[in-house]
Symmetry: C2
Subunit: 327 residues, 2 copies
């Protein structure tokens, strides 16, 4: 069903207030959770909200904790997230990296002991709104086997790259598995198969069944050996830069909390819009494979969905919406 | 056949001297070309050398040109490569980014009008040798269709991520096509099929025939739509940061020269080796798929091949070796 964005945000805020979260944070967190659904990333919007509340109840998230700076070096800051809500800390961290970049061209904030940032793209959009180029990453609980292996010893460790653009920012938000667990679950909830093989079933056969893959935990890395390697490097970047927990350390607790993240912002002398438009229009000049295909730039679908959600209402899964209303 | 590293380097240097290249550059360039073959990246070592010489003869590479700084902002420098050899300029640029990072935690050099850097990993190894974390990228001529399209309007735009490690650096060097053109050509020269589908043939069918894919120019992006998007973003980063040519601009000349690159170096307060080792050993703790499989960290095979080449000799394709000896 479709509901107004303001209704969705208000309802999420109501629940957040009940956790004892400070007013300003309830506003930010409900805005971002609702915004993720508004932008079509349901897996990390409303659908993920009950799990967030459960994590608060379980003591994994300290709703009013304040991240602290634990180290600095030039245009680098290292923070301890103090297990505050990941959304809050990521917003603050990318904001600080943006300020350093505005001042000095480039800035980096790395955060240990933070929590799930939900949709990584959120912080790409935030940075781009401030005129910054951004490169951000996080690690996660182990949920993907490395190339050549069958046990999940890598995270899907999303990478975000954003570039500000007048006609709509370019924002890449990619997990290192071909399908994120959020996307797998979204297909599962909708009773849909995947369009491409997304991992292996219990018997080691490639599968397009989201449930079978979630069950085996054998997701397929993006680009086979390449995404496996990139995932490992994302874990190294996030953990080394923040001196925080690795995928191994997170996984050993059995729960996905106290993760590590980094946020690089860049503000060059200028962000030449003609250069970006040339790249986008050249990519789009390719003949399409068939009449059902289109060539899109990263962020294009997001913006289209956002505009549609704002004019027609945000899609919510009725079952989860009812669950949240009961919280 | 196997030849000593010093013999390979010496022979390449002899040919470079004949182009009129200054002594110090002939030493650097022959070291890196020979080093690429030594490290097992034959496609961008000896195998690519004749093409480099042809590009010099064609006036696309100015052997003794010196890159110039055209813009600065805080810890960012923007250079014009003046069409100097890409190997020379990339070495100098990553060195400057490293110096800025040592000084200020993080530094970025973006270069327009530079030339092919051959193996991107080279600059990751260089940065890591200086104790720097590095994130580097380049664009290229269009050689890959975007997801949904069939004309090549994206480059394979390699991404390099390197992290210094006592027992052997972690260095990821990935082109955005599942197989780089270098790798396709290497398989073609060896008369081998690819282990996985690497693109489409002329009829639009997925193929493991390297020649058919090189001919159709329809390489498969890493992770399908994800690598397509990442490739586009790499072009945006390289072109916007350097204010240089895009994939479109490079392709319009019909020749791959005057490309755009960026080099980010990071020197945090410390690079905790225990964190890196924890990540590597956890990844390797996965049970392997079968007895022919292994789990490796990015850079592991490179280091093994390097050591083997140095003790037993560097593999050279005899035909190309004879060709180079005749130059």
């Amino acid at each position: 069903m479709l509901i107004p964005f303001s209704t969705l945000k208000q309802e999420l805020k109501r629940v957040l207030v009940k956790t004892g979260m400070n007013e300003d944070r309830t506003d930010l967190c409900s805005e971002i959770f609702a915004g993720n659904s508004r932008d079509g990333v349901y897996s990390h919007g409303l659908n993920r909200f009950p799990q967030f509340i459960k994590s608060v109840d379980d003591g994994l998230i300290n709703v009013n904790a304040e991240p602290v700076v634990v180290g600095t070096k030039g245009s680098i800051e290292r923070w301890d997230g103090q297990l505050a809500p990941g959304i809050y800390t990521a917003t603050k961290a990318v904001g600080r990296a943006a300020d350093m970049a505005i001042e000095n061209g480039i800035g980096l904030v790395a955060v240990r002991n933070t929590n799930h940032w939900m949709r990584g793209g959120t912080y790409g959009w935030q940075a781009a709104d401030k005129g910054c180029i951004a490169i951000c990453g996080t690690n996660s609980i182990a949920n993907m086997p490395p190339w050549g292996g069958k046990d999940a010893t890598l995270g899907n460790n999303p990478l975000v790259i954003a570039v500000p653009r007048t006609e709509g920012h370019l924002v890449l938000d990619m997990a290192m598995s071909q399908y994120s667990y959020g996307k797998l679950n979204e297909h599962h909830l909708a009773g849909k198969k995947l369009a491409h093989a997304g991992g292996y079933d219990e018997n080691g056969n490639l599968s397009d069944d989201p449930y079978a893959i979630m069950h085996s935990k054998r997701t397929l890395p993006v680009g086979l050996w390449k995404g496996s390697a990139l995932s490992l490097m994302m874990d190294v970047l996030a953990s080394v830069l923040s001196e925080g927990k690795t995928v191994s350390g997170i996984t050993s607790t059995g729960k996905e909390f106290a993760v590590s993240q980094f946020f690089i912002c860049i503000v060059p002398e200028s962000v030449n819009q003609k250069i970006i438009d040339e790249i986008v229009s050249y990519a789009k000049s390719s003949a399409v494979i068939d009449e059902n295909s289109s060539v899109r730039y990263p962020g294009e679908s997001t913006l289209r969905r956002r505009n549609k959600s704002l004019s027609e209402g945000v899609y919510v899964n009725e079952k989860i919406w009812e669950e949240v209303k009961g919280l």
